[in-house]
């Protein structure tokens, strides 16, 4: 299935606080697109709009699956997951009192994912052998890096075509960030995923990015057509490196 995502001119936020202003992005099939921006600029809000956790005030979010277009605005999170979009939330948000395997099963809560549950479970255990060793351990008792593995694996369990990843580097040691980013690339290649990743860690993010956007105060400030364009951008130096 070839899925792509187009966000057209959305305004959105929390109650009367408007975070996103007339924001548009596209993610084409098979791409890894990064959303760069520091805290509080609307990266997570945009991902929440796509997954249906927040309803945008205006605009459309078009999911295109093999030419069949649906507007995701107004859809519930369950419907969005069923449509093939899965999110790895910021800060992992595991179910700490459940075991690793129970967390993974919850990733496959929707009916269509249940059918492929054993296949996907084997797949994520192959990618993250550590999780197989620890499958009966409570998720809350694991290290930050292992918890992030569970969060990403749980996202894969819903058998998505588009994977949204919200700040996979939060709270991880630098070598683990590098490992995690590498795993996301591996998952993407093996599962033919389309990936939209929000990140603050610029240096790690551009390692796997095909293209990217820089988001500042809820607006797209810069659209980069390639990873090189991102790497050589003046604005990035200004926002990230303070030079």
């Amino acid at each position: 299935m070839a899925s792509s995502l187009t966000v057209n001119n959305i305004d959105g936020g929390y109650g009367s606080v408007r975070v996103l202003h007339d924001l548009s992005i596209t993610v084409d099939f098979g791409e890894t697109v990064v959303l760069l921006g520091s805290n509080g600029n609307g990266k997570s809000t945009l991902l929440k709009c796509i997954t249906g956790l927040i309803k945008p005030d205006r605009g459309e979010i078009i999911l295109n699956v093999d030419g069949e277009k649906t507007d995701l605005v107004g859809k519930t999170p369950e419907e969005v997951v069923t449509a093939g979009i899965s999110m790895v939330p910021e800060g992992r948000r595991l179910f700490p009192a459940l075991t690793v395997e129970e967390n993974l099963y919850l990733g496959a809560y929707r009916k269509f994912a249940r059918k492929k549950i054993s296949e996907n479970l084997d797949f994520v255990y192959e990618i993250f052998p550590r999780l197989k060793e620890r499958r009966n351990q409570l998720a809350g008792s694991m290290s930050g890096g292992e918890q992030q593995m569970v969060a990403v694996a749980r996202g894969i369990m819903s058998d998505p075509t588009i994977l949204l990843v919200d700040e996979p580097s939060v709270g991880l040691a630098p070598n683990l960030v590098s490992h995690m980013i590498g795993k996301i690339r591996e998952l993407k290649e093996k599962k033919n995923l389309t990936v939209l990743m929000a990140e603050q860690n610029f240096n790690q993010a551009i390692k796997i990015a095909d293209r990217g956007y820089i988001i500042v105060h809820g607006e797209i400030e810069f659209t980069a057509a390639s990873a090189d364009e991102l790497a050589n951008n003046e604005m990035i130096k200004q926002y990230y490196l303070g030079v």
């Binding site: 519930t76 999170p77 369950e78 999110m87 129970e102 809560y109 929707r110 819903s158």
Partner: protein, 318 residues
């Protein structure tokens, strides 16, 4: 194997209960065990919303009273129909109330939800106090039927009825706990936003949870007017009912279906023993002491203690 064992125990308990009515003469035993089982059902019901789903609810007493008043209403409106009808109707009425209340309050979280449920109980009480048809503030007397089919006395019939309701409550609670629904509820309890992004239909599951909670509370309340033969709003809607319903799973353990069963047996038995042997005032004090003891020493309840024990033993063996 495990499944068969469960159903075997359920069937055995029911048959032993029926055999008990054939053998025992002293009616006190039926009154006492009735009270224990009523408490157990309330604990099981509260635990479905409070324990499995993580929504602490102070209004469960309101659903219990609504069940009792459904019976009163049917008694008055249809000239004392058989109690079995009330026992079937009350859970539906209370389940519907649960569904409606859930729809309006489940957006709230934590302490706000708890306060809202308390308010629901007060609203229900106010309605009953001002509703003359069911006796209003003065209460309503019910005469228990003189002729009882099959059993020696009416309390024996009530005993078998509440036993059946208890076993059904256990079956429902166990099903919710161990099925896919139970996984979803546990996810809501642990992290509702994460559950939602995983595609768990949170609103639907929470509504199932409140509906079942209301229905079981109503089922516990339905035979109550026949049990005490006089119902009035202040005691039926007493906050104590809600507190007892919370105490049972707190003592037994909230995470699994077996917790409130153990808690109900333990707390109910202590209460009945103390009420008879010492005094009914002291009984309340003892509930308080037991509850404080458990919260400070074993916050996961008896099932939590058992799990800790098993974990330590397993470690010892390795």
């Amino acid at each position: 194997m495990k499944l068969n064992k469960f159903w075997f125990i359920i069937a055995a308990v029911f048959l032993i209960g029926i055999a008990f009515t054939m053998v025992a003469d002293n009616e006190f035993y039926f009154y006492a065990t009735y009270a224990v089982m009523q408490l157990m059902i309330m604990g099981i019901a509260w635990n479905i919303l409070g324990g499995f789903t993580g929504y602490v609810n102070f209004g469960s007493g309101g659903f219990f009273a609504a069940g009792a008043y459904t019976t009163v209403f049917l008694h008055r409106a249809f000239d004392a129909p058989p109690l079995l009808i009330a026992v079937l109707v009350a859970p539906m009425v209370c389940g519907l109330i649960g569904l409606g209340v859930g729809y309006f309050t489940l957006r709230l979280k934590g302490v706000y939800f708890a306060i809202a449920t308390l308010a629901v109980a007060i609203i229900l009480e106010t309605i009953v106090v001002n509703w003359e048809f069911v006796g209003g503030a003065g209460g309503y007397y019910l005469l228990i039927p003189e002729n009882v089919v099959f059993f020696d006395s009416y309390i024996e019939w009530l005993f078998v009825l509440i036993l059946a309701i208890t076993l059904i409550a256990i079956i429902v609670s166990r099903y919710l706990n161990s099925s896919k629904i139970g996984q979803g509820l546990a996810a809501i309890r642990d992290d509702e936003l994460a559950a939602e992004s995983m595609g768990v239909p949170t609103l639907k599951l929470k509504l199932i949870s409140t509906t079942v909670m209301g229905g079981l509370m109503g089922a516990a309340g339905a035979p109550f007017p026949y049990f005490i033969t006089f119902v009035e709003p202040v005691s039926a809607f007493n906050l104590l009912v809600a507190v007892m319903a919370i105490a049972v799973p707190m003592i037994g353990g909230t995470a699994s279906w077996i917790g409130p069963v153990i808690g109900g047996l333990l707390l109910g038995t202590i209460q009945e023993t103390v009420t008879v042997n010492i005094s009914s005032e002291l009984n309340l004090l003892i509930v308080g002491v037991v509850l404080v003891g458990f919260i400070s020493l074993a916050p996961q309840g008896i099932t939590g203690l058992y799990q800790d024990f098993m974990r330590k033993r397993r470690k010892g063996n390795d």
